[in-house]
């Protein structure tokens, strides 16, 4: 994005002065100290107010002149500004580094969860001159301490009214960034298919579902294997709904084969709403239904063969307490194509990113 910067302001803010005259003034740059084989790093940081006791140290470092910042009351140093920006951007579950590095601050997850980004306000924020914020994608599952976004004031010195404008925008749309904690749920699984029920093939779904739930701290309370029988599937869904079940998962039977009756079994179990089909590959025949607040998920056979499917996009949202609707499922279209890479790198890829 092209922005206009008032670089003349930046130049005017610097003064080159003798070290002995710098007491009480603010350093315009880091001063590095090198002790061979022992230490290399900043002895004094940009923005530091020079003290009388620092003069000898500065002289030892060979400094005879310094660039100091001479800010007027309408100007804010980038390190102070970025703290204000981060504070306004970081909602619940989002914290940030205590100290800016190279004028930037990284926003980080305070705990495991699902990052929520208000994309439109974030865009508006970035239309304000001299500030920026870049983030990872909305709805990405994140671990504690994971970097979520980076923000900075672009010039070394920012005008107070521009900073206030950015902070006001972020505050009005608060929270632009939040992390929703996952609920540790107790799920029940119905594996459908005559071939599994009759022992012709061994089930592999249970291990996959169990592993994917465990990644978010949830567990499988019960697994049943059923034939492709609508009534049995329906009655089992009803039984699970009457029990202490947070999430019901079914596998198989979602296609158009005459034996594929799992969808019918769920529909006839008295659910409130059913969304069948989603704009995701793999996962076009995915089903998402709700009975009151309890989700019922129908995973098509692709869940066996592809390491990552629509289930991986929807599960974290369900565990974060969200109840995606038909529009949410349709919205997955942009980014909903898995490229079937030889080695799955999800979530470090475009799949499911909107």
């Amino acid at each position: 994005m092209l922005k206009q910067h008032d670089y003349s302001c930046e130049k005017d803010c610097f003064q080159k002065i003798k070290v002995e005259n710098a007491v009480g003034l603010t350093l315009g740059h880091d001063i590095t100290e090198v002790r061979p084989g022992e230490y290399k790093g900043p002895a004094f940081r940009k923005g530091y107010k020079v003290q009388e006791s620092d003069l000898c140290h500065l002289m030892r470092l060979g400094k005879r002149h310094l660039y100091v910042l001479d800010l007027n009351e309408n100007q804010v140093h980038e390190d102070e500004a970025v703290i204000e920006l981060a504070n306004a951007l970081a909602g619940p579950g989002v914290t940030f580094e205590a100290r800016p590095r190279e004028g930037k601050i990284q926003l980080i997850a305070a705990y495991d969860g699902l990052i929520k980004v208000q994309v439109d306000p974030l865009t508006e924020f970035n239309l304000i001159p001299d500030v920026m914020c870049a983030s990872i994608h909305n709805n990405t599952p994140v671990k504690k301490s994971r970097r979520l976004a980076g923000t900075r004031a672009i010039p070394l010195v920012i005008e107070r009214d521009i900073l206030d404008q950015a902070v006001s925008l972020a505050t009005a749309s608060f929270p632009i960034f939040a992390v929703k904690a996952f609920n540790a749920v107790s799920a029940r699984l119905i594996i459908t298919g005559n071939e599994v029920y009759e022992g012709l093939i061994e089930d592999r779904f249970e291990a996959i579902i169990s592993r994917k739930l465990a990644a978010y701290g949830s567990t499988l309370a019960e697994t049943v294997i059923l034939p492709d029988d609508q009534d049995q599937i329906s009655s089992t869904v009803r039984r699970f709904l009457e029990m202490d079940t947070d999430l019901i998962i079914t596998t198989g039977g979602m296609s158009v084969d005459p034996n594929d009756v799992t969808r019918l079994g769920i529909q006839s179990a008295g659910v409130d709403r059913v969304h069948y089909g989603a704009a995701v590959l793999p996962g076009a025949m995915f089903l998402l239904a709700y009975k009151e607040n309890t989700p019922i998920v129908g995973i098509p056979a692709c869940g066996l063969y592809h390491p990552t499917t629509i289930f991986d996009l929807i599960l974290p949202r369900l565990l974060a307490g969200e109840r995606p609707n038909a529009r949410d499922l349709a919205r997955l279209a942009h980014g909903g194509l898995c490229l079937d890479c030889a080695t799955c790198r999800y979530p470090a890829c475009s799949f499911g990113k909107i």
Binding site: Y39, G41, P42, I83, A86, N87, G91, P92, G93, T95, F96, E97, A98, I108, A110, Y111, G113, S145, A178, V179, K180, A181, N183, G321
Partner: protein, 206 residues
Amino acid sequence: MQDFETLLKGSAEAHGHLCPGQVVGVRMAMLGCELIELDNPRQLPQIKKIIVYVEIDRCATDAIAYVTGVKLGRRSLKFIDNGIMAATFVNLETDRAFRIRSTEKSRELAAEYAPEIRDKHLQQLEAYKRMPTDLLFKIQAVDVKIPIHNMPGPTRFKATCRNCGTVVRDKKDVYQNGKILCRSCAFGAYYELSKEKNANIKNKNL
């Protein structure tokens, strides 16, 4: 910084007894301070420059806190419940940080370094005083990024639990199912409420 014996005496008094853990803790803290170049961390201005992460809540932790002056209430002492005899010393001004772990080998070598002492407790105590640093400790240079909500200084963040109304400070709140909650309401508490006992409190019949 005071000498080892003076610090050990003070640490033992503060902790309540002299033990091998005190020796390990005092030596670890002195080494940690040396590595991050703080020679007087218990007093201003250095008291504001140090943070120590301890990974165990045993005797050595008290010694580390005594030598360095770090305190939970000052937010300069951080407890990471790993069950490992280790601590990380951070200089906030320079960002230098070192993690020091007590080695298991030092326990095996105790007899070698204090062979004249039969009592195991006393033998460890003396051996840990004599043992070279490289046998007693494993040292790692580390990078610790401390988020703003864990820094010392005034409270910057407050939130109110939508469930119980308690104010939660320092970003320890949890955003769950569309509500800001305290950790107890979100994940369960470490205690259970007793209706009977609480009724007694209400009636001032403790």
